[in-house]
């Protein structure tokens, strides 16, 4: 691995992340649409718990889940469907011609996406805490950081893998993203502890990294969270590490496969199919 190759790819990561970061700065309307307005859905779920006099920590779960939806939406709409979108607008061929690893492009998308998604999620969390007077505890901040980082690596690895697969789906990409919103909110327990789905359903949903990430964060952020836990935090951290490696590997494999298939079938530059 030469220094030139490494630098070229780091520049590619930076180059792909740049328009996402700078783009969000140039069109600041997203601050309102992406931060303030989604809070309303979180508020609705919180009020369901409140109206029914549910235990206090459930409102906190909703706020945390609502914040984490930002990452899942970013995976679906700005990672998974992005290569398809790039093909549609004519950028994909330029990426493939460039003397860089395709993974750098996807990594750049992930870094850029993570920037404003983290901002959105943090805002949701902070505003939610203030509005609903949610009592978060920070008894183990290091573990919170570890869980967050491995969840994001696994999640964005999954997004990178989806990006290649979506290219094969063609126009189904949009529908796939749409289809994976509510079902994943449900299966991953964004608004209620996943353990209430039953062991096997929760185990199946754990293939989606955010399921275990959320479950672990709930245990770390809320004193009563361990009572609603699916698995112990340490076990979830270990599984998330494994998922991170698996998804990044699968992303590389599916990207190579997609490129090979696209070239042999002559569909890499074909739009609107």
């Amino acid at each position: 691995m030469s220094d030139t190759w490494l630098m070229r790819n780091l520049r590619a990561v930076n180059g792909r992340a740049y328009p996402r970061i700078i783009g969000s700065k140039r069109e600041p309307s997203w601050l309102f649409f992406d931060i303030v307005l989604p809070l309303l859905t979180v508020a609705a779920y919180a009020y369901i718990y409140k109206f029914n006099n549910a235990q206090e920590q459930f409102i906190g779960y909703v706020v945390l889940g609502g914040a984490m939806t930002a990452f899942w939406l970013n995976i679906l709409w700005s990672m998974a469907s992005q290569l398809y979108w790039e093909k549609e607008i004519g950028n994909l061929q330029l990426y493939l011609m460039a003397p860089i690893s395709r993974m750098s492009i996807l990594a750049g998308m992930a870094v850029g996406g993570l920037f404003f998604t983290t901002l959105r999620a943090t805002s949701t969390l902070v505003i939610g805490i203030v509005v609903f007077s949610v009592a978060f505890t920070l008894s183990n901040p290091l573990m919170i950081l570890v869980i967050f980082v491995v969840t994001m690596i696994a999640l964005y690895g999954m997004g990178m893998m989806f990006a290649s697969l979506y290219l094969l789906f063609g126009r189904e990409a949009y529908h796939m993203s749409n289809l994976m919103m509510e079902p994943v909110y449900f299966a991953s327990g964004f608004y209620f502890p996943v353990k209430y789905l039953g062991f096997w359903a929760a185990a199946g949903a754990s293939a989606i990294p955010i399921t275990l990430g959320l479950d672990a964060l709930r245990q770390l952020f809320f004193a009563a969270g361990s009572g609603d836990a699916f698995l112990p935090v340490e076990t979830e951290a270990a599984i998330l590490c494994v998922l991170s490696v698996v998804f990044v590997f699968l992303a590389k494999y599916s990207l190579d496969y997609m490129e090979r298939l696209g070239k042999t079938s002559g569909r890499l530059t074909l739009r609107w199919q």
Partner: protein, 298 residues
């Protein structure tokens, strides 16, 4: 002549919308897609309510709760608000940035409103399937309290039609705003739909909100729409719900059905005028700033 032309535009736009929604896959997969999405959205609420019951230790059955019926019906019909608002704004983004055909549609000798509403009509049709499946699932599998014999059909059907018209009108205003927002501005429909979700008594009565928010709720047409739909579809459960609380739990108990309908119609007319104004203003600004063929795909 103009009406005939508008109807033709509406019909062709609806056909185009159907092709774009449905021709990407085989009918079985499309049907699965149409069923799974609404059911999953509903199951989130079902499990939230199950968790509430389980952790409260009350031993109550979900099907016995009039609140569960209240929440279930509200959530099922809210799909219209979410999907139609999304559909109308997405027409602008999709045509402008994906297919890049918005400028061609613009210069064609057609009524643009008829085109947008035609595209929205197919969303309504597809959402209707989702709403029906959700309601049938609710009644058969979860014991939601809808008795076909006691449904007030005229009131329910008129409420449904007036409310849908109102949602389309609101969608038109958001479509106008979409002219001026970047690709990520699609969050606007998520947000506006969120306003209705939290303030219109969709899944919980508006009396759970702070007093100032209840005042806002009472100027939103969707609040009256939801109440009217519930009273039409499940009058018994609504009566039970009212009887279970010592106060006016829905916040609209003092209004009779005629008054509800009147409010719904009047607010629709007001929103129609406002939406038309917003759409025209946004259209003017978009053309002045050259945003009709704008792309922002970063």
């Amino acid at each position: 002549m103009a009406v005939k032309s508008d109807l033709r535009t509406f019909k062709n736009a609806a056909w185009l919308g159907w092709q774009m929604e449905a021709n990407w896959t085989d009918p079985f997969l499309f049907a699965t897609y149409s069923i799974v999405k609404p059911l999953a959205g509903t199951l989130i609420l079902v499990f939230m309510y199950l968790v509430i019951i389980e952790t409260s230790g009350s031993g109550m059955e979900m099907a016995d709760s009039p609140y569960f019926t209240y929440m279930f019906i509200g959530n099922a019909f809210y799909m219209y608000a979410a999907e139609v608002l999304f559909g109308v704004t997405w027409v602008i983004h999709d045509d402008r940035e994906h297919y890049m055909t918005l400028k061609q549609v613009y210069i064609a000798p057609i009524n643009f409103y008829a085109y947008v509403l035609g595209r929205a009509a197919i969303k309504i049709a597809i959402t209707t399937v989702g709403v029906l499946i959700t309601l049938v699932f609710g009644v058969l599998a979860l014991g939601v309290g809808i008795d076909l014999g006691s449904v007030d059909w005229p009131f329910f059907i008129i409420s449904l039609i007036v409310g849908l018209a109102c949602i389309c009108i609101l969608g038109l205003a958001l479509g106008g705003i979409s002219f001026l927002t970047a690709k990520h501005g699609e969050g606007i429909n998520e947000g506006i739909a969120g306003v209705f979700y939290v303030l219109s008594g969709v899944v919980f009565p508006i009396t759970a909100l702070p007093t100032w928010a209840q005042s806002v709720s009472k100027v939103l047409p969707v609040t009256y729409w939801m109440e009217a739909l519930r009273r039409g579809l499940s009058p018994d459960a609504m009566d039970q719900l009212k009887a279970s609380y010592p106060y006016d739990v829905t916040g609209l108990g003092g209004f009779d059905n005629v008054f509800l309908m009147l409010v719904l119609v009047v607010s629709s007319v007001i929103f129609f005028v406002l939406s038309l104004g917003i759409f025209r203003y946004a259209d003017l600004i978009a053309r002045r700033k050259g945003k009709i063929d704008w792309t922002s795909a970063y």
